[in-house]
Amino acid sequence: MRGRLLAVAALGAGAATAVVLRRGRTALDAPGRGTLAVTVALTADEVDARATGLDDELGALLARARRTPAPGGRGTELRVDDDGHDRAGTRQTLRLLKQQLETGSTMPPDDLSGRPPTPQGLALDAVLRAAGREGRL
């Protein structure tokens, strides 16, 4: 019985998180919010050196980004204007760009395809489908 209660409670928490994420997207994706930005732990010269190895999509995003030195020797700030189209997709690409520049590889959200459909699992699947495209970036 306790297990069932916990399962229901866990489902509720999972669903609530999905709602929170959804609300977050609405607020974050409001038109005119401005820019999406990341800081990469590389100097401008290092960014240039690594840009040559980027694929077309990441290279195009880097070309769009405004670069400024980050304070305290923290690297380079990359800012991309919100052009009003596919802000979530831009966010995901910006995450991947930072990963590729800093580590030399990308780590896109994990794939849960093929898992059995469970109530909590379905809610979690929805959250994870948005896990790279949403958030506070």
Binding site: G3, L5, L6, A7, A9, A10, L11, G12, A13, G14, T17, V20, L21, G24, T39, A41, R74, G75, R95, K98, Q99, E102, T103, G104, S105, M107, P108, P109, D110, L112, R115, P116, T118, Q120, G121, L124, D125, V127, L128, A130, A131, G132, R133, E134, G135, R136, L137
Partner: protein
């Protein structure tokens, strides 16, 4: 391959899963030789961290042999016996450069979940839910280790498996709590709440760092006895006039450093606050039961340091902010930065100064994953930690 999987709230079983493969150039595949249950796993099993998916492989504290490396791996070699940090870190981002590896910008593949919950995403962790990256865990025959040059460390000859194993997480967490968060030094009196693996490693670390006296506070009499006998610590039952005992022990000053090593499912506490915690946690009005943390803050001396090592998920009620502020305490917490501590810990282990193998009270075959967690959760048969060994005990 075979692996221990989470299949529902309070349900685990050993089943078949696909073999891991090199996915990124900096990956290694490690053949697991020992993987141990951790108290934080119980939060996953119980559904308190609702980001588990049916079939997820659990386990994050492990040791094994490198059997394959990606083309970008430079330092690790096939055949090496390695202990692996439970937290996954890239080694390149700003946080990793500060040696704050568990805060890695690039280790968590699902950043939106924890960005939304906590403001920013920490790094990833093996087998610790999709909130921390959704990586397959180590209770398996094989595990993929991302950024292997950063997170996998060769074990010195002469350090046995069941000793080195705990450098992966429990010893690293305890060391962090004493050395970095608590800044323990000679002359300090250190109080540690919780005599599980992490608490005992925090206590031992404080001794190594020169603490004048270490007291372990634990509700379970067996665990108190282990801490006393194995480490030579003072031990106290928190329900037995704890405040008076700590004042007596410190001649009225209070402990200089208080380390919480219990986490969100503190058990054994009594009284109206503890009862309210239990009800509100079950109803998900709050996610934590924090009696030990309240006690740590209350009993810490003025100007003292409180380190939070237990795992918490979201929010807690009736947090003693007044005591924290008015006594001028420093409160710090973190998931452990294993990549920073493991070399030091392996060196201490090689010199027999740190010998945590006594924590491995039960060693079972991987096929006995469910029994391992039953023993561990129920503290049955004096279980401190249950170790799973793929391929047989």
């Amino acid at each position: 391959m075979r692996a221990v999987q989470w299949t529902g709230v309070n349900e685990v079983s050993t089943g078949d899963v696909p073999d891991p493969a090199i996915e990124q150039p900096y990956d290694a595949i490690v053949k697991v030789t020992a993987s141990v249950t951790c108290g934080s796993d119980l939060h996953l099993l119980g559904g308190y961290i609702p980001f588990m998916r049916h079939g997820d492989v659990i386990g994050h504290e492990f040791l094994g042999e490198v059997v394959e490396v990606g083309p970008g791996v430079r330092d690790r070699r096939v055949g090496e016996r390695v202990v692996v940090s439970s937290f996954i870190a890239c080694g390149s981002c700003w946080y990793c450069r500060q040696q704050l590896f568990s805060l890695c910008d690039n280790g968590n593949r699902n950043p939106a979940v924890t960005e939304t919950l906590w403001g920013f995403a920490p790094g990833g962790c093996f087998g610790y839910s999709h909130a921390l990256g959704g990586y397959a865990g180590s209770h398996a025959e094989y595990v993929r280790v991302p950024f292997a040059d950063v997170g996998a460390f060769p074990v010195p000859d002469g350090v046995e498996d069941l000793r080195a194993l705990f450098a992966s997480d429990a010893a690293a967490t305890g060391w962090m709590g004493a050395a970095d968060l608590g800044e323990v030094g000679p002359g300090d009196v250190v109080a540690v709440w919780g005599a599980g693996g992490v608490g005992q490693m925090a206590a031992r670390s404080a001794q190594i760092l020169g603490a004048d006296r270490v007291v372990v506070i634990e509700t379970d009499p067996y665990r108190r006895a282990v801490a006393r006998d194995q480490l030579g610590c003072d031990v106290l039952d928190p329900q037995d006039a704890l405040g008076d005992a700590l004042l007596d022990l410190t001649a009225g000053r209070g402990p200089d450093v208080c380390i919480e090593a219990v986490g969100m499912e503190a058990s054994g506490a009594t009284g109206p606050l503890a009862a309210l915690d239990k009800v509100t946690q079950l109803a998900r009005v709050q996610t934590e039961r924090i009696t030990p943390l309240r006690e740590a803050i209350y009993h810490c001396r003025k100007g003292g340091r409180v380190a939070v090592l237990g795992v918490f998920a979201a929010w807690a009620d009736r947090f003693p902010l007044g005591a924290l502020m008015n006594k001028g305490l420093t409160l710090r917490g973190a998931q452990m930065h294993g990549q920073k501590y493991i070399p030091t810990l392996l060196d201490l282990m090689a010199r027999d100064e740190l010998a945590p193998e006594y924590l491995a009270t039960h060693v079972l075959d991987l096929e006995d994953g469910a029994e391992a967690y039953r023993l561990f959760k129920e503290k049955d048969d004096g279980c401190l930690r249950a170790v799973l060994r793929p391929g047989g005990v």
